[in-house]
């Protein structure tokens, strides 16, 4: 059993993860069902993080996939473990192993307490390959209800304000704030007028427009307390 990601490592934020289950003779299994539970082992406690169900990858018979949103990196003393449970022909199997989760180069996940005193995890999914264009932007939003329970948050809005701190906070036109799509992820449009380092300032609003977290960028306020970063 081997895990795969697009860049070959697990990092903070949103990770699409693929795996195959192989017999000892190297043939792949195509009739398994599986679920996983990531677990962070901290000095004083354990907690999980947002994760998806596992399904077959598109256009594949034996590759399984899902995603996990790690809100923090692991270290020597505090580390992530992945419990993977799968059943083949009614027989259950369990694997539990340490996984290495490294800090992403740029900020792609925010974990914070909102003005409603609830804890949220917000992670950027797209763009993974940003262009000088209007990019499709995608993010996932979860609430933390206890250490092991992370439900998807519905009907919120994520206001975006992309800026270039290196260019006197230049911003771009024609951005569209993120709202929830049919796949439960939040979707919008992100304009990037040039390559380089961009800071995407965020504000999280609930279904009636109350600001849960984040501040508007103004002449006097250079950036929001929650943001994503992109560099290309």
């Amino acid at each position: 059993m081997e895990l795969y990601t697009l860049n070959g490592k697990l990092q903070t934020g949103f990770n699409n993860i693929f795996f195959q289950i192989k017999n000892t003779d190297g043939t792949t299994i195509d009739n398994a069902t599986a679920f996983w539970i990531p677990e962070m082992n901290m000095m004083s406690m354990k907690h999980s993080c947002p994760y998806s169900a596992i399904s077959k990858a598109k256009n594949s018979t034996s590759t399984y996939m899902g995603f996990i949103v790690f809100q923090m990196a692991g270290s020597e003393s505090e580390y992530w473990e992945l419990n993977l449970n799968y059943s083949i022909n009614g027989k259950d199997y369990t694997i539990k192993d340490r996984i290495s989760v490294v800090e992403a180069n740029r900020r792609v996940v925010e974990s914070f307490q909102g003005s409603d005193s609830k804890r949220y995890i917000l992670a950027m999914v797209e763009p993974t390959a940003p262009k000088v264009a209007i990019n499709d932007m995608k993010a996932v939003l979860y609430r933390m209800d206890g250490m092991m329970n992370f439900p998807v948050v519905d009907d919120f809005k994520i206001v975006i304000d992309p800026r270039m701190p290196g260019m006197a906070n230049h911003s771009s036109p024609n951005n569209t704030d993120l709202v929830q799509g049919t796949d439960k992820m939040y979707q919008g449009k992100l304009s990037l007028t040039m390559t380089g380092y961009w800071k995407i300032n965020l504000q999280l609003l609930d279904s009636i427009g109350t600001v849960i977290k984040g501040e508007k960028v103004t002449e006097t306020n250079e950036g929001s307390s929650i943001y994503f970063e992109l560099e290309f």
Binding site: K131, V132, A133, I134, M164, G166, M167, A168, N169, H170, S171, S172, P173, N174, S191, L192, T193, M194, T195, G196, Y197, E231, F232
Partner: protein, 602 residues
């Protein structure tokens, strides 16, 4: 008729009838060339050398606009050219020096003619340091170095048939632009053509000339030489043009006619790379001209008709197809940030018409003409992406959805000549529909650090431009001639908007003395104070000025065809510190400048 807009010592931009180069068609020997600089640092006129020009053919409005569809007019730079004849080799060498900016000029030419063959080769090198304005203030970043070599050859295939080839290579390095925030480390152009000419084809057709041409311009703009900049940037640009024209000319009866079929293809690309002040951060890159292709085809006819020995009339008409296409995906996606629905290409039809009459009487000549012309938005106006204008300090965004700009114009002149006195009064009036102009757009964030805002090209309902001039001449004695010129323009747009860069009342007055091989002249040129200016474009008012110049020339003859011409003189004799309406960002002009030129011809 022509103002030169100055951004430094080098590459002045010719304004025809008070209008920028987008509104005119400028050609070199009939060839279309597109500048490669987004900041107008390289008007076409900068790629030739004054010393090898025979002249410039200027037509106002769309009259005689063989070069293409235009509003302001056409300017064709005609180079000196050899001719078939007796076997002979002649040439010249010249050198010059100017004290103010230490400009050194060296050049030479060789011309060989033969009954079946001719060739000319000439080269010029100019090198200048910073100039000093009146009063001695050094104008930083006003230096330049320019090399120009040009060659032409003709071969007579048979009687009345000839082919010619021509090549210009022009290279400027280390050119400073004191009025702009950036300089140019390299501007180079390679301009080549081959033409075929046939004379006396039939009683009706006197000449058929066809030319194919190609030119390639590279322009490297950067701020490497500037000590303090908010962020370092490089902005190179490239322009390649291939084209042709095929022109028939003839005379019959009382008609003198011309028909020209022409076309060209251009690709303009410019980019900007900014280097972050934060170490290890990636460079910022964008396309400022997103790889714009222009395909242009044009048919033009003109007929001059002698109604009687006193009345002449002229008509011309042209129709052009203009097609823009953005073939660069990166560039197209960039522009779609502003125009999400924008198609990648656009086709336009450009029409032009003109008619004029001329009446010659005993001492008087009257002319009257009317013209209609259209133009497509330029590459910058249609597709520019964050182009910083250092005069009004706005970033400009092109607008691909604009309609053609249309102009209806009338012009009239009245000339009088009696004995030693000549006078001519000239006027033209342009009414321009859908006048293209950048207007501030709120809610857009500037790209250039320190810019005041963002302007997007839009169209004023209308703008009007009035041009007037008076030319006077008086032959006082056989040796003394006085000439004088007065000029004034007004440009106004919708809602009383004052158009930028309009010439106030300007004048010049020259007395020339000529006896045998010696000549001298003393001149004064000046302007009234500049009060009709528009601060929205960065303009400021200016006081009146007057500048005096004198020069002397003498030609010494030696054996045979050898001669040495010496020219010397001084510009701005009184070292006035002055600035004109045509000075970008109001940089002052050159102070007192002594010059000397030596020309040895053989």
């Amino acid at each position: 008729m022509v103002n030169m807009i100055r951004r430094g010592s080098y590459a002045w931009e010719p304004f025809l009838n008070g209008m920028a180069t987008e509104r005119s068609v400028i050609t070199i020997d009939g060839m279309r060339i597109y500048a490669a600089c987004t900041d107008k640092m390289d008007p076409i006129t900068s790629y030739v050398e004054v010393t090898n020009l025979a002249g410039a053919t200027i037509h106002s409005g769309s009259a005689s606009s063989t070069g293409g569809s235009t509003i302001a007019g056409t300017l064709d730079l005609v180079r000196k050219k050899g001719s078939f004849g007796q076997s002979a080799l002649n040439g010249m060498a010249f050198t010059g020096f100017e004290t103010n900016n230490k400009q050194k000029i060296v050049g030479g030419s060789l011309n060989y003619s033969h009954p079946k063959f001719f060739t000319d080769v000439d080269f010029t090198i100019r090198d200048a340091g910073n100039y000093r304005a009146g009063g001695g203030q050094e104008i930083q970043y006003s230096q330049f170095t320019k090399y120009n070599i040009s060659a032409q050859a003709g071969y007579k295939i048979k009687k009345h048939q000839q082919i010619e080839a021509s090549l210009i290579y022009d290279k400027a390095v280390d050119v400073g632009y004191p009025a702009l925030p950036m300089d140019v480390s390299l501007a180079k152009a390679l301009i080549g053509s081959v033409s075929y000419t046939r004379h006396h084809i039939s009683p009706l057709i006197s000449q058929w000339q066809s030319k194919i041409y190609y030119n390639d311009v590279t322009h490297v703009m950067d701020d490497t030489e500037r000590p303090n900049v908010p962020i370092r940037m490089d902005m190179p640009g490239w322009s390649k043009t291939a084209g042709f024209y095929s022109m028939l000319q003839g005379t019959s009866n009382r008609h003198d006619w011309k028909a020209n079929l022409s076309g060209h293809y251009n690709k303009s690309l410019a980019e900007m790379t900014m280097f972050s002040n934060t170490p290890n951060e990636k460079d910022m890159f964008m396309l400022t001209w997103p790889g714009v292709q222009t395909y242009y085809g044009d048919l033009f006819i003109e007929d001059k008709y002698a109604l009687s020995d006193k009345w002449n009339a002229a008509f011309s008409a042209g129709l052009a197809v203009h097609h823009n296409n953005i073939d660069n995906q990166f560039g197209l996606q960039s522009l779609r940030i502003f125009y999400p629905e924008m198609p990648g290409s656009k086709t336009r039809l450009l029409k032009r018409l003109s008619a004029s009459v001329r009446h010659d009487a005993a001492n008087w000549i009257y002319t009257f003409g009317a013209a209609y012309g259209e133009r497509a938005p330029s590459v910058s106006e249609g597709y520019g992406f964050y182009l910083f204008n250092s005069f009004d300090r706005f970033d400009y965004i092109g607008n691909p959805d604009m309609r053609n700009e249309k102009s209806a114009s009338v012009n009239a002149s009245l000339a009088y000549q009696k004995a030693a006195f000549t006078a001519k009064i000239n006027g033209s009036y342009f009414y321009i529909d859908d006048y293209i102009l950048g207007r501030p757009r709120n809610g857009l964030s500037v790209m250039t650090i320190g810019a005041y805002g963002v302007k997007v090209y839009e169209q004023l309902k209308y703008a009007t431009i009035l041009n007037t001039s008076i030319d006077l001449g008086y032959q006082i004695t056989k040796e003394f001639l006085w000439t004088g010129q007065l000029g004034y323009r007004r440009g106004t747009g919708e809602n009383g908007l004052l158009l930028p860069l309009m010439q106030p009342f300007t004048y010049n007055s020259v007395i020339t003395f000529a006896r045998k091989s010696f000549s001298a002249d003393a001149s004064i040129n000046g302007s009234s104070s500049h009060t009709r200016y528009n601060p929205q474009f960065g303009e400021k008012g200016l006081p009146a000025y007057a500048v005096f110049n004198i020069s002397f020339a003498n030609r010494f003859k030696f054996n045979g065809a050898q001669a040495l011409t010496l020219k010397t003189g001084v510009e701005n004799l009184l070292d006035r510190n002055y600035t004109t309406f045509a000075d970008w960002n109001r940089i002052p002009r050159i102070g007192r400048n002594f010059f000397i030129n030596l020309i040895w011809s053989f």
